[in-house]
């Protein structure tokens, strides 16, 4: 036995040789824990899982480091379908002792058979939904879901017991009994299953007694008015002949009447008993099918609505992107046309400046536009972003703010890392009282150049708007 504080091996003394803690109580608790563990082991050996769980819970309550008790407790839970509970006990057990502990093997086994575990965990989740439905009195939906769970995971005892309860309520005693016998095969000491089974037997006995009490009088043997027959004393020559029950009928008419009465009774039985019962069964099946299909229909409708919304969102996004592309292409095409007009009118310098605005945006142009762009560049020669920027600064210093703003825009379009071009473009628009364009360019500084020196100025301007 090891000390529960420091893990040192304990001796006969009531004090730990290492940490000197008083371990007398712990020793007694551990001994009691082992007693309960042995009892639990015995019960588990005869498949009394419910009883074993109670004993093992006591064992663990007395000594939480009793890994054998914990491992067995986990096994019992796992066998009853409570896989998460079982796994949690194995995890705790492997925490206390990871060397040579079967719990680590159990955990590895569960991880290897992951699909099996996931199936059982899903069954637990569905069972909780069934419980909720049943508590909200949606019994029909609960029963449909419960049947599915019970058929997929027959080892999940809670679900089986609840299904048996539903069958008892519907007086389907034969089905309930079958389920309960299967439960008792897995857990021989399950008190709930035993109680339900005894209730079924009681209800079946009462049903049989009621049936016999309802028998017509001519089938009962209680005729007190039959006269006593005079009996002569027997002599030695008398022959005792057993009384025959056979009586001759009076003739064809009474036979015919009897036959007619028999046919009438038979027809009445069919009409009043068999046909309504068959109709009830058919109606019940139809109703169950209708409800199942309604549930499926509702699920399908939800999926459909969700898919429809996705389509609408994607269409909207596509249209917005298309507008951007079109807008982009349209604006670049316009720049190209302007550059072509400037070239044709002989202003090569201005055409080069205009062309610089679409220098880095070749992908936005179509094939024909690209050909025109290449032709113009080869005839005019390119102009660098720095040259455009220099011209823009010159214009700005000469207070030609409108021309400067256009040139700064072109310089930025040609080189989108030129924060100075952005800043001065914003300054130009600000001085022209074009607050929308100024705000746009200041926002570019905040979004794309957060580390530049112009950030404070940009933020102040935007805050003042």
């Amino acid at each position: 036995m090891k000390c529960n504080r420091c893990g040192a091996e304990l001796l006969k003394s009531d004090f730990c040789p290492e940490c000197h803690t008083d371990v007398s109580f712990y020793k007694r608790a551990a001994a009691a824990s082992n007693t309960y563990y042995n009892k639990g082991l015995e019960q588990a050996g005869v498949r009394d899982l419910s009883g074993a769980i109670e004993s093992l819970k006591m064992a663990v309550m007395l000594d939480k480091t009793n890994v054998s008790a914990r491992n067995l407790l986990g096994l019992c839970y796992y066998e009853m379908g409570e896989v998460v509970e079982g796994l949690s006990h194995w995890v705790i057990s492997s925490n206390y002792n990871s060397v040579g502990n079967p719990a680590t093997e159990y955990i590895d086994e569960v991880q290897k058979k992951r699909t099996d575990f996931d199936e059982k965990a899903a069954a637990a989740r569905k069972y909780n939904q069934v419980l909720e439905n049943a508590q909200n009195e949606n019994y029909d939906i609960a029963l449909i879901q419960l049947k599915k769970i019970a058929s997929h995971t027959p080892g999940f005892l809670k679900a089986q017991l609840m299904l048996a309860l539903f069958y008892i309520e519907k007086k389907a005693y034969a089905r309930a009994e079958k389920i309960l016998r299967n439960v008792l095969k897995i857990d021989t000491g399950n008190a709930m299953a035993k109680r339900y089974l005894s209730e079924i037997k009681k209800s079946s006995k009462e049903a049989v007694q009621d049936q016999s009490a309802a028998l017509p009088g001519f089938l009962k043997n209680d005729n007190p008015d039959s006269p006593d027959e005079d009996r002569k004393p027997l002599s030695g020559n008398d022959v005792i002949r057993p009384e025959s029950g056979y009586k001759r009928t009076n003739g064809g008419l009474s036979s015919f009447l009897h036959i007619l009465i028999g046919i009438g009774i038979g027809a009445a039985l069919i009409f009043f008993l068999i046909v309504p019962a068959r109709d009830r069964i058919t109606a019940g099946r139809a109703e169950a099918q209708t409800q199942e299909m309604s549930a499926q229909l509702a699920e399908t409708n939800d999926k459909l609505d969700s898919a429809q919304k996705q389509i609408e969102d994607l269409t909207k996004a596509r249209d917005e992107l298309q507008d951007q592309i079109d807008g982009g292409a349209a604006s670049y095409n316009q720049i190209l046309i302007n550059a072509a007009n400037e070239y044709l009118s002989g202003d090569d310098e201005q055409a080069a400046v205009t062309l610089a605005g679409i220098k880095n945006s070749g992908e936005a142009l179509g094939d024909d536009a690209k050909d025109l762009y290449d032709t113009l560049v080869s005839n005019i020669g390119g102009i660098s972003s720095d040259d455009v920027y220099s011209q823009a600064m010159e214009a700005f210093e000469n207070s030609e703010v409108m021309r400067a703003s256009t040139l700064f825009e072109s310089a930025y379009a040609a080189d989108n890392t030129n924060v100075n071009a952005v800043y001065y473009a914003a300054r130009c628009y600000q001085s022209m009282q074009n607050t929308d364009k100024a705000k746009e360019y200041y926002q570019i500084i905040l979004d794309d150049f957060p580390n530049s020196d112009y950030v404070d100025t940009a933020q102040d301007y935007i805050d003042s708007m």
Partner: protein
């Protein structure tokens, strides 16, 4: 005689996979030995306080 609603109330929810962490914490609660040592500590503390006052 089985009362359906009363029997239904006896069914408790099953632990789901999402609640595994909570299950580990709940199942690893202090045992009798922990409670006993805690009581001893509380008694010791009480005695020390009385001596100091």
């Amino acid at each position: 005689m089985i009362n359906f609603e009363e029997e239904l109330k006896k069914f408790r929810p099953s632990t789901e996979a999402d609640e595994a962490e909570k299950a580990v914490i709940n199942n690893n609660s202090p045992d009798m030995t922990d409670l006993f040592y805690k009581m001893i500590e509380d008694v010791d503390l009480h005695i020390v306080k009385q001596r100091n006052s």
